[in-house]
Structure formats: C-alpha cells, structure tokens
Amino acid sequence: MTTLPFDARPLPGEPGNNTWEDPGRRPPLVLNHESFTSVTEEICRVNESPRPPMAWYVCLGVAAVLAMVFGALIAYLFVTGVGVWGNQNPVMWGWPIVNFVFWVGIGHAGTLISAILFLFRQNWRTAINRFAEAMTIFAVICAGTFPGIHVGRVWLAYWLFPIPNQMAMWPQFRSPLLWDVFAVSTYFTVSLVFWYVGMVPDLATLRDRASNRIKAVAYGIFSLGWRGSMRHWHRYERAYLLLAALATPLVLSVHSVVSFDFAVSQLPGWHTTIFPPYFVAGAIFGGFAMVVTLAVPARQLWGLKNFITMRHLENMNKIILLTGTMVGYAYAMEFFVAWYSGALYEGFVFVNRALGQHSWAYWTMIFCNVVAPQFFWFKRFRTSIPVMFLVVNCVNVGMWFERFVIVLSLEQDFLPSSWAYFKPTWVDIGMLIGSFGLFFTLFLLFMRFLPVIAISEVKAIMPAAHGSHGHHGHDDDHGHDEDRHADGGSHGHGLARDPARREGHPDPAGDDDAGSKGASS
C-alpha cells in the first residue's frame, strides 16, 4: 500500500495517483499517511477546525432557506389541500410520487456501499461508506415526506399503520402501497441503526478529543461509553456483519416493493415483470451518481483527498457505467416486450413515450441515463473531475426524468376524453427544489458535526493494522506464536515498519480474515 509495497518495486504511476492496475499488487487506498495518528488528525479536522470553509456557510444558508420554503409549502398544502399540485385525473400521483421514487432510489447507493460492498470485502468502501449512509438516511427522509403529505387528510396519516381502533379498521395488507409503508419504514430504521452502530467508535474518537465540555458530553453520550475493548469489538464486528447481511436483501427488496406500486397495477406501461430488477439497478445508478456529486466537492473543500482518492471516484464511476448500461438495457427491453406482447395498449403507451407529447422528457432521460455514462468507458474521462461531475449530474437529472416518464405514461389512458398535457404547478416545482434544500441542509450539518469518514475502519485497512505477520488469527497455537515472537524479539517494536522483515511475508495486507472488517481490496 502507500508506504509499504508488498515487494520492493516502486509503485507504478505518479505519487498520489492510485488508479493504476497491476495484477498481484493492491494500490494504496489511503494516500500520504503512515500512522494512525495522522489519519485521526486529518479526519477529525473536518469537525474540529474552529471555522468550516466559507463555502459551507454559503451552502448551508441557501439550503436552509430552501428547506424552509419546503416547510412553508407543506403548510400551504395542508391548509389548502392537494389541489395545489398539478395532480389530475388520470395522472393521479403526479410529481409527489416521482419525487418519492427519485429520493428512495438515491438512498440505495448508501446501503449498497455499506452492506453489499462490505460483504464482498471491497476495502475502498471504508472511505465513503459513512457519508453515503448519511446520504441514504437524508434521502429517505425526503422520500418519506412526499407520500406522507399526499394522504390528503394528513392528520389521519396514522391510518397507514395497523393501530387498533374503535372502528375495527385495519390497513389492507394485500395492497402494494401498504407493503411500501413497511418496506420504507423498515429501510429507514435499519439504515439509521446501521449508520449509528458504525459511527459509535468514531464518536468516541471525537469525545476523546473534544475541546470543550459541551462537545465531550454530547459525543460522550452518543458514543455510549465506547472504550475500544477487544471483547466489545468482537461482538461489534459480528453485529456489523449481520447487519450488512440483513441490509443486503433489504435494499434489494425496498425498491422492488416500490416498483410493485406500479407493476402490480393493471396498467399498460406499468404492468411489467422487469420493473423490480430495473428499479433496483436504476436506484443504484442514481444513488452512486449522487454519492459522486457529494464526494467531489466534499473532498475538495475539506481536504479529504487522501482518503476519498481518485481510485474511489473511479470505482464509483465504473459502477455508474455498469448500472447505467443495465438501465439502458431495461429501456430497450420494455419496448421489445411492448411489441412482442402484441398488446395494443402496451404498444401505444411506448410509442407515445418516445414520440408523444412528452417525448422531450423521454429523450432527456435516454440522453442522461444511457448516453452520458458511456464516457466512463474511457479511463481519461473516468478520472477527470470536470467530466465526471458533468456526467453524474446528467444522471441525477436523468433519473428524475425516468420516474417522470413512468408516472406520466398515464397521461393518455383508455379514455381519450380525459387526455391532457400534464402541467406541474409552482408548488410542485417549489417542493422538488425545497426537498433538495432539506437534503443538503441535513447533509451539511452532518459534515460539520459527525465523523464524515469511518475513522476506525480506515485504520483497519492500513498496512500498519496488520502487524508484521499476516496470520495472527488463524492459529490458536501458543507455542508457535511464542516462537515467532521470540525470533522477532531482538528488534522488538520495529517490525511493522521494517521492510527487510516484510519480505518474508509477501502479502501482509491480504490476510482475508473471515468475518473481519477490512480484508483486502
């Protein structure tokens, strides 16, 4: 890795560039850091610097104003009724569900990074999982708001939950909309717990470094008195692994259930079996685009380039290319099935999507989601900050339009007399922008007050975390280990940093310790 290559050959590429590929050698994931101390210092500086960057104040100011606009519009909606939206018959759901599906989808990348990449032992996740998970939580908050305020009589929103009442009135559990209530609330709860559990050791770091009493008490309470006990770590790691194993099917189920909202209905353009996998791929696609959108300015502003390296960004861009291509395949397959089914209405809906009155939205979607990511086939573009920022923002726009196109396919339903051109109102537009305000407000506050990078996890993937011999854990044999220590005892503490000694152990970082957190990239 950085300072301790597995062999004596120099690392390929320029210093600070870790995007090279060399079979047999793993590029460093943490740049310019040799010691745990400097890692702690650099990450904690985000929280501990007396003043955050000026851009933080500006962004927070703008975001907070937009979040307040969101709140005011919600109040206006409650007072006036859902007629303030452009929703009409037959486009009953309109923008609120577009925004709901968009935001839920954004969340999925966070869980993918924290759970699925963890199960696959992708060490590069450690630098980005914390803020990707934060993004998940905040995106799901934005998502949950839209159906929450769309119930009409919002004071009866508790009817969504099976609460015993004097009317013996229960939710109808055969409806996908109710599955959604359970799926999204479970998803939010489990993501929150996963995020918090992962953060406890890092909150303890901030507690132990707190410069005043208020910080010490606040971080102290939330770190639960964590003291890094190995007996605690043992259960903690197992719990983390189990949470990852539980969150993986959960994240796949959530967007599948969201797609059931559409797919279970008997409507052309919606009633297709491709929806669950297509929605999940799209969610991961859009979510990763949002992670890159947030990571690029964040690493710049707070100087986190040693942790969120170009390799991390490149890896994410590769996933965007993959999932974008899957989404493109799904778009094509929808058309094929519409033709192949021979169903008149199905065919009409799809021709109408591409050539009808909202064809501009369709082709925006195709350009942003299918064409734009193709740049990422080329390493030059994958590793260029301006290009990737442009592409991922295209994807952000495109993924919103994808849901818009799906929802708007009801515009021309079975009854030509109800056909119309769907027009959003200013409240629709204000709420979409306002939800971004809420999202960024929460995210900027998180950047300032909580550990933005999983400090303890980053340390665990550093070469120094593996000591001088890679296979401590696998033998429980005292005598053997004693011998090994005895032979190294003469030069004692220098083992971890002694290249000569390392040569006998060609792969110190590669002790793929089953059930442990940071094995190998």
């Binding site: 010691s35 745990f36 101390t37 702690t40 229960w170 559990f173 055969r174 409806s175 996908p176 599955w179 359970f182 479970t186 709860t189 489990v190 559990v197 303890a204 507690r207 132990d208 470094r209 707190a210 639960l224 008195g225 964590w226 003291r227 890094g228 006990s229 190995m230 007996r231 770590w233 043992h234 259960r235 903690y236 197992r238 719990a239 189990l242 539980l246 969150a247 099917p249 189920s253 303890s456 996890e457 340390k459 665990a460 120094a464 975390a465 000591g467 001088s468 401590h472 854990g473 429980d476 005292h478 280990d481 004693e482 220590h485 004692g492 503490h493 220098g494 310790d513 442990s516 957190k517």
Partner: protein
C-alpha cells in the same frame, strides 16, 4: 521503550483532566482497580495478549482503536452467540408479520386488549375475490418485519452483551487512555483477577516492554 520513531506523541487536546494516576502517589486514597499498559503497535499488543493469556489471567482485556484482526482469537475470546439471537429475532418478526396480517385482514373474532371491557377485532377483507389466507400477498410485510426485528435484535443484544451504554468506566478516567480511540493499544488487567498482584502483574507488564504502565482506580 520503543526504538521506532513515533509521529508527534502529543496527547490529544485536553479531553478530560488527568486524574492522579501516577503509581505510588494515590495508593493510600483509592484501591487499585487494575493496571494498564500502553503500546503503540499491533505487534506489541499481540505479543502482550499472547503472554498475558499464557500467564493465566482471566479478567483482562485489550483496548484498540480499531478491531485488530485475530486479536480476539489470540485472547481466547469465545465466538459470540449473536448470530443465533439474530435468527430468533428474525423468526419472531416473520411469525409476527404473518399473525398480524392474518388477524387483521382475515379473521373476525374478539381478542381481549388488556384494557377491561375493550376487545380488539380483525376485519375480513374481501379483495378482488382473493382467498382470506393470502399467503403470497403477505410475503413482503413478513419479510420486512423479519429483517426489522432481526436487525434491531442484533444491535440490542450486541449492546446488552457488551454492557453498553456505560458512560463511566475506570479506564475512561485515565488521560493516556484517551488515545485508545486514536493510535494507542492498551492492555488492562483487573484487580479482581485471582492471579492479580500489584507487584507481579506490574512485573509481567514491564516484561512486555510497554510505553507506560498506569494504575487505575475505580
């Protein structure tokens, strides 16, 4: 002491006041809770763990800034029963999901609510001619509740078995210990260990070549 050049060994900025934990000075005031040795590398804490275990101590622990892989095995920590508890949490959620949907959507009989005179009753929904016992339609909610109770169970049991939250602990009083969440590794042997003796345990720790040895008070 170590011969390795160390990055600036400044103690973390004034987190908490250093209590008088200097050996010999405070012994007449408070009893000894345990002894703590400080290390600065993974190799050292491994060696300390191996030798402490071999010396027959039972009430001891290693404290590290991150999970050191294999150290739990070196310490002889038994595998946790968390996976089994997670399974039962999931099973509870799955059964609860089924019973909830069956009772509320497919039955109609009174169940005492616990409040005198009040009963709870389900409602037999007849939706597009589907059978009352709609297994396939109930799978999503059963699945979500399985995950939910399993996940909350895992975290709850993990904290419970770890004895967290514990906002007070003798180790947390020590100023040096603040670096356990940063870059230092600690071996702590508690006084309640049958083999503990302040002198012999201190000798044992000195033989491990630590950066420092501290006496902990309760």
């Amino acid at each position: 002491m170590t011969t390795v050049p160390q990055p600036s060994p400044t103690i973390a900025p004034g987190a908490r006041p250093a209590p008088g934990a200097i050996p010999g000075q405070s012994e007449d005031r408070e009893p000894t809770w345990g002894l703590m040795a400080e290390f600065d590398s993974v190799d050292d804490i491994f060696e300390a763990a191996h030798r402490t275990r071999a010396a027959g101590y039972r009430w001891w622990d290693c404290h590290t800034p991150f999970p050191v892989h294999g150290l739990d095995k070196a310490m002889g920590i038994k595998p946790t029963i968390l996976p089994i508890l997670a399974f039962f949490g999931g099973l509870t959620g799955c059964i609860a999901g089924f019973v909830l949907q069956w009772f509320t959507n497919a039955t109609s009989f009174d169940v005492p609510s616990g409040i005198p005179g009040i009963t709870v009753r389900g409602y037999e929904f007849l939706i597009s001619g589907k059978p009352m016992l709609s297994g396939p339609a109930w799978i999503p909610v059963m699945f979500e509740l399985t995950i939910l109770l399993s996940a909350l169970g895992v975290v709850g049991w993990m904290l419970l078995l770890n004895g967290l939250p514990m906002l007070y602990h003798p180790t947390l009083k020590n100023a040096r210990f603040a670096r356990v969440t940063n870059d230092r590794f600690f071996l702590v042997i508690e006084a309640r260990d049958p083999k503990f003796s302040e002198e012999r345990t201190r000798e044992h720790m000195e033989s491990l070549n630590p950066l420092s040895i501290e006496r902990l008070e309760p």
